[in-house]
């Protein structure tokens, strides 16, 4: 496929495929769905972070005969929801490992009565001592998971870091921390489940990965695959928060449906969703870096620790990505990364846009500025001296075979932001102004798609068919949740065949209709699944040429006529393709060496920040982002992804804090979990450089997660520029600025050994 060919539809701002329905208020989210005989379900959750369940009591003022009550004993198959390991129970059985762990499920026809019933269950526990932090887990005095509290660890080594210290002109150390972050999709988690012996189980709900849910239900209910059907409803935001959790919620609704004999709807309210579902892994990253006298990196010794919560869920893959992004977009001959994910008695952490990269990139990009200050080099210059270029190798010894244009992105970001001029102006103005301004940057990559041989393992199947109503239909299990899946995949199909955009529709994300094209995660949809669609289109044209007399050049009418002929002669007009790895992808999972990702997206971001010394508030006044994501399939959607990711990154840096009290999220309301409003987001400027990637659909690489990686370090670097004080922990709230600025040691230089 010629990725540089002129295109009619790909690369143009066609309207969002399902946009009209959304704008009319006609799009059906799970809570909009009504059904005859629908019951409502709710969950009784643990009020302690760790302990044994001694007794479960049911208040006699409630007539329990009216209700369906489900416990772990009712689970027909396996009592676990398995993402990677099989350690997380679907329902707690005899013990709990975190606050808000699901113990019991209750259903009734009357939503109000369910609520009262939940409040009428009395659980008595025998508490056990809980642990809540990475440090407590590392001590291993209290072991809550496995034999050592460790979900997963990695060791990545390149060269020999120990040999570098003696030769170094400079050695700089730093420790960087990131807090938990909540997805705060505006639509809470919700599912509807229905069961009959003949049809089996059907679930409808807000989710990212129908086949993940399918696989979990097959295990929990011990049903054959054809007896489980999962249908995605219009999903109001996800960001990774509906990658793993829906499997648990679907199992819960299904258990109630099965036992009650009625379809059951379970939709969380905001308080429950905030308290009980997954969030971004907190992290602690330590850097020790050796440089020569010109500021070139000699060695990077990195320790990455994440808090995985009480069960492993996706902690191992989040840790993997953090490990692979921890050394930044730099050339360094000696790298060692020791990473570890720790168990604590908190609600299990899970997938969230970036998936370990925001944590790792916060640390390395903050650290680069600390190095620059310690050794007396400008932070821009330090980065230029160390950027990866074509032909260089990464920490996993992956050769950069595709163009790397960090310098160009950096130049663009600096020019558009008037970086140098502003820094000079602010340095003058700050002297006399209680509001101090500064500029900061971050440079980073984000690996597109699954790590190493992940895609081979997924073995995705995707394609197209042609309906009897004369539409081309895309058959994928990949879902729309605002990021534009429906639009870009139909654009790709329309372009690949040569039809109009309106001739192509999406098949519903229903496991009884679409093949398993893998999850909608890891920024893989455009690049990997889009490519499968491209290939399936070419395959269909070949089929029609061979069997239905389709000419080399054809009109839309001729195309559909050929399809009709094919259908009459051979049956359904369908073309599916399986994933084929690009050549030369070699990845050693044991040594963590080789081609970590098939492609990288690159970015440089610049933040302009104002720190008000009266209130200690830091605000982003303006933000610029230059990126290279291969071919931009739809400029409106792509721009929207960058802007939205940046807004979330700003929240991650300055506003969003998860406050735990005894392991329970105390600020579980929108009034006190703070995301930026329309008055808080700054103007955001987005610039794309396009270098088509030959193995991605029409040259596209991944885009969705990239923009969330850079804002936090860029912002904290800008704060350092503004007030001369380093902050290495996020979220950075005014109280934290106040605490540090009001102590005597405000102008300590970073440690250069």
């Amino acid at each position: 496929m010629n990725t540089c060919a002129t295109t009619r539809i790909v690369g143009t701002p066609v309207p969002r495929k399902e946009g009209v329905d959304k704008l009319l208020g006609r799009a059906r989210y799970v809570d909009d769905i009504e059904m005859d005989g629908l019951w409502h379900g709710a969950t009784v959750r643990s009020s302690i972070p760790r302990g044994l369940i001694r007794s479960i009591g049911f208040d006699r003022k409630v007539d329990w005969n009216e209700f369906t009550v489900v416990t772990a004993a009712d689970i027909p198959g396996q009592n676990h929801v398995q993402l990677i390991a099989a350690d997380q129970p679907c329902l707690a059985d005899g013990k709990v490992s975190h606050c808000d762990e699901a113990i019991l499920l209750i259903a009734h026809a009357d939503k109000q009565k369910v609520r009262e019933a939940v409040n009428s269950v009395r659980i008595e526990y025998e508490p056990l001592p809980p642990i809540f932090t990475i440090e407590e887990s590392e001590e291993q005095k209290i072991v809550i998971w496995g034999s050592d509290n460790i979900f997963k660890s990695f060791l990545l080594e390149k060269g020999d870091v120990e040999s570098a210290w003696a030769k170094a002109a400079h050695i700089v150390e730093g420790e960087y921390r990131t807090g938990a972050q909540e997805h705060l999709y505006i639509e809470n988690n919700g599912m509807i489940a229905a069961y009959s012996a003949e049809k089996g189980l059907t679930v409808w709900g807000s989710l990212q990965c129908p086949y993940y849910v399918h696989r979990s239900l097959v295990a929990v209910f011990n049903l054959s695959e054809d007896k489980v059907r999962v249908i995605q409803t219009e999903t109001g935001g996800a960001f990774g928060g509906k990658e793993d959790y829906p499997s648990t919620l679907a199992a819960h609704a299904s258990l109630l449906a099965m036992k009650s004999g009625h379809p059951v709807k379970m939709v969380y309210d905001r308080m429950e969703d905030l308290a009980a579902t997954t969030k971004r892994h907190p992290s602690r990253v330590r850097h020790r870096t050796a440089l020569d006298k010109k500021g070139k990196l000699l060695a990077m010794d990195i320790e990455v620790a994440t808090d995985g919560g009480a069960y492993s869920t996706l902690s191992s893959t989040v840790l993997s990505r953090a490990t692979l992004h921890s050394a930044g977009p730099y050339v360094c001959p000696n790298v060692r990364v020791r990473s570890c994910s720790w168990a604590t008695n908190t609600v299990p952490y899970g997938a969230f846009r970036g998936f370990g990269a925001p944590q790792a990139i916060f640390a390395v990009e903050r650290h680069m500025d600390e190095i620059a200050a310690a050794i007396g080099i400008d932070p821009i210059e330090l980065r230029r001296r160390n950027f990866l270029h074509d032909g260089d190798t990464t920490a996993t010894e992956q050769v950069m075979r595709e163009p790397v244009i960090l310098d160009k992105l950096l130049d663009r970001a600096l020019t558009e932001s008037s970086y140098e001029e502003k820094r000079a102006r602010f340095a003058r103005e700050n002297r006399h102004n209680p509001v101090k301004r500064g500029m900061g940057i971050a440079a980073f990559y984000h690996g597109s798609g699954f790590t190493g041989s992940g895609e081979r393992y997924l073995n995705s199947l995707a394609g197209i068919d042609v309906t009897t109503e004369g539409k081309l239909r895309v058959l994928v299990a990949n879902t729309e949740f605002g990021q534009g899946t429906n639009t870009i995949l139909t654009q790709i199909a329309a372009e690949a065949i040569g039809l109009d955009y309106n001739d192509v529709i999406m098949a519903p994300a229903d496991t009884s209709i679409v093949p398993n094209s893998g999850p909608t995660v890891a920024s893989r949809t455009s690049m990997v699944v889009g490519r499968l669609i491209e290939r399936a289109c070419a395959q269909l044209i070949a089929m029609l040429s061979e069997h239905a007399e389709l000419d080399e050049q054809f009109t839309t009418a001729e195309f559909f006529a050929a399809c009709d002929r094919y259908r009459a002669a051979k049956g359904d007009v369908v073309s599916l393709c399986r994933y084929e790895a690009p050549p030369g992808i070699f990845w050693d999972d044991q040594k963590y060496r080789g081609e970590a990702y098939p492609a990288f997206a690159w970015s440089v971001q610049v933040a302009q920040v104002a720190v008000d010394t009266v209130t200690y508030s830091a605000e982003v006044e303006e933000f610029w982002s230059a990126q290279e994501v291969g071919r931009v399939l739809n400029p409106v959607l792509a721009g929207g992804q960058i802007e939205g990711g940046i807004a979330q990154g700003i929240g991650y840096a300055l506003y969003e804090k998860v406050i735990l009290q005894n392991g329970h999220m105390a600020n579980n309301q929108m009034t006190n979990y703070i995301m930026p409003t329309a008055e808080d987001v700054p103007p955001i400027h987005v610039y794309f450089e396009e270098i088509p990637f030959q193995h991605g659909a029409f040259g596209a690489k991944g885009i969705g997660e990239l923009p969330h990686d850079g804002p936090a370090p860029a912002i904290l670097n800008a704060i350092k520029d503004a007030i001369g004080v380093s902050f290495n922990s996020i979220p950075l709230l005014p109280e934290d600025l106040f605490a540090k600025l009001s102590t005597p040691q405000t102008l300590e230089e970073p440690t250069a050994v």
Binding site: P13, E34, G236, T671
Partner: protein, 169 residues
């Protein structure tokens, strides 16, 4: 069961409706459950996210905070009332063109807030747009293309200044 429940009469998108529900049932729930108008959404139940925004007697309100008794005799406008037959409202068209909706869950409330803003101020400045939409949280867009959509919707009205045109960023 419904002993003592009042009958509330209200106009919804120009049509007279009557419901018999507890007086403390939320307007949001009456719209969604009794009137089957599910365009208006619940995001938080606390009046913080604005996804339940509707216009009540020409003012923007969070319908999750209005007990239905207080809507007796009121004129309610929801997202379902914006489009006219097959024709999208100019704001809806602008959101479609400019990418103002991504996942769409905040969109109905956002459209009502934007409608309210433009009804009171046909040519708002950027600061006025930000303020007018400050009670509507969007987690997907970062608001940028929502601002552009609102500005685009005012573009063809007379009296638009270039300040508004370039103010988007």
């Amino acid at each position: 069961m419904n002993k003592g429940w009042p009958t509330i009469r209200l106009a919804v998108n120009g049509e007279m409706r009557a419901v018999r529900t507890p007086a403390m049932k939320r307007l949001l729930d009456v719209l969604r459950e009794d009137l089957h108008l599910t365009g208006t959404k619940e995001g938080c139940g606390e009046g913080e996210c604005g996804s339940c925004s509707v216009r009540m007697n020409g003012e923007l309100v969070n319908s999750c905070l209005v007990p239905i008794l207080q809507a007796e005799g009121a004129s309610i406008e929801t997202v379902e009332g914006l489009a006219c037959d097959a024709e999208l409202h100019p704001l809806q068209k602008a959101f479609l063109d400019c990418g103002g909706a991504q996942c769409g869950i905040c969109t109905p409330g956002m459209l009502m807030a934007a409608t309210q803003l433009l009804a009171q101020n046909p040519h708002p400045s950027m600061a006025e747009i930000r303020e007018g939409l400050a009670g509507n949280l969007c987690r997907c867009t970062g608001f940028i293309r929502i601002f552009e959509s609102v500005i685009a919707a005012t573009a063809n009205s007379p009296g638009r200044t270039t300040e508004q045109a370039t103010d988007a960023r």
